[in-house]
Each structure stands twice: as C-alpha cells, then as structure tokens.
C-alpha cells in the first residue's frame, strides 16, 4: 500500500518570503514523487517530479522540492512567493513497481500568499 500525508491544511506566507509545503509518503520500494497544483475550477497541473538521482529537483514557476529518503519526505519549496502562487497543492506518490501506475494523493495544502 502507498500513502501520502500533507500535515498542513493551509500555509500562509507573505509575498517575497520563502515558502515550504510539507509532504511525507509511505510506499513499498522506491518511489516516484510528484507535486501538482490546482487553481480554482481547473484540473491538476504537474509541477515537478522526483525519479532518482539528485535530491533537489526543480520544476515549473520557480518551484523546487527536496527528496529526503531517511525522513520519507518530499517538501515543496520556493525561495520567493508570489501572490499568484496562491492555490491548492497536492503531493502524490507511486511505487516504481506499480503495474497500474496509479497515483496516491495527499489531502492537499492550500497556499495563501498575501501581498
């Protein structure tokens, strides 16, 4: 079984400040990890992924995420938040050996960036 936890329902940051959205996961074997963003009335938009290799991965819109195997975490980060980053963020995992390739999502974290 695989699972994802996003411990914060909401994260509030001021524009220009760094942001972190937390994610921990549980999976059998090696994970593929993903972050998606959802704007109002839209689908899930892919931001970045971790497959293997460097623990710090860079994605769209200046976002990056840090994979930590010992802590089974994959926190999303951005050095300087924009008001336009305000949205719902989902972390997702699937195991390398998952034949059906299903993604398991966390419950989502609402990011609010205030001017």
């Amino acid at each position: 079984a695989q699972s994802v936890a996003q411990p914060e329902d909401q994260v509030n940051v001021a524009e220009g400040n760094p942001l972190t959205v937390k994610c921990t996961y549980s999976v059998s074997g090696n994970p593929y990890l993903f972050w998606y963003v959802q704007y109002p009335n839209r689908g899930l938009q892919f931001l970045l992924k971790y497959i293997t290799g460097d623990n710090l991965v860079k994605g769209s819109y200046g976002f990056e995420a840090e994979f930590n195997k010992s802590q089974t975490s994959f926190h999303l980060k951005k050095p300087s938040a924009l008001v336009s980053d305000s949205a719902l963020y989902f972390c997702a995992v699937r195991a390398h050996n998952n034949a059906g390739n299903m993604l398991t999502f966390g419950g989502g974290t609402r990011l609010m960036v205030k001017p």
Partner: protein, 114 residues
C-alpha cells in the same frame, strides 16, 4: 501545449440514471486514468487503462462503473445507475510511455446527482 479535455464541465443527473463522462487524452499518450474528488476530500484513484484493457482498479470502481476507448481518441467513464454518493469532480488523466512520465489531468467534470 497539448491538453486533456473533458466534457461536459458539469453534469446534473437524477439518481438511478446512467451517465457517461467523456475525455480526450493527449494524442500520443497510451496510458489513461480516471480519478474522482468528492468535495473537500482527497483525489482518489478509480481505474487505469492500457492497451484496451483495465490494468488496475480501486475498490470504488465496482460493477456500476465501466470504461471504454470507443475510438482512437475518446476515453469514457460510464456509471450505470448513479447514486447520491457519486456526486464528485471526476478527472481524466493520461501519460506517455516511460514509467516516470507524469500524468496530465483534464479540468474535470463536476457530477451532481439529485
């Protein structure tokens, strides 16, 4: 950039009626998925589809649900006899070959069962 498109954006149906949700995946993708999101809850996996057959399905995907790729472009989800608890946002996704490729999602169909 290619997109996954879903129709209709909102479907209102009487309980017990059949409903078909439609999706056009990205054209060169071979793997297709349906997920749902009940209001305020997690995005949940329903089914994955590859090579014209279901590769995996969740407990949610019972006998009331079916999927089909009727032609070379569409991918449909049918709910045979809808229940109130089927009310949710339904997302279609597709991905390219290669195990680590991300799934790309459509904007969803909001299904409201009355």
């Amino acid at each position: 950039e290619p997109e996954v498109t879903q129709t209709p954006s909102h479907q209102v149906t009487q309980m017990g009626q059949e409903v078909i949700l439609r999706c056009v995946p990205i054209s060169n993708h071979l793997y297709f998925y349906w997920y749902r999101q009940i209001l305020g809850q997690k995005v949940e996996f329903l089914v994955s589809f590859y090579n014209n057959e279901i590769s995996e399905k969740s407990e949610i995907f019972d006998d009331q649900f079916s999927v089909e790729r009727p032609d070379g472009s569409n991918f449909t989800l049918k709910i045979r006899s809808t229940k109130l608890e089927d009310s949710a946002m339904y997302f279609c996704a597709s991905r390219d070959s290669g195990g680590a490729q991300p799934q790309h999602f459509g904007d969803g169909t909001r299904l409201s069962i009355l």
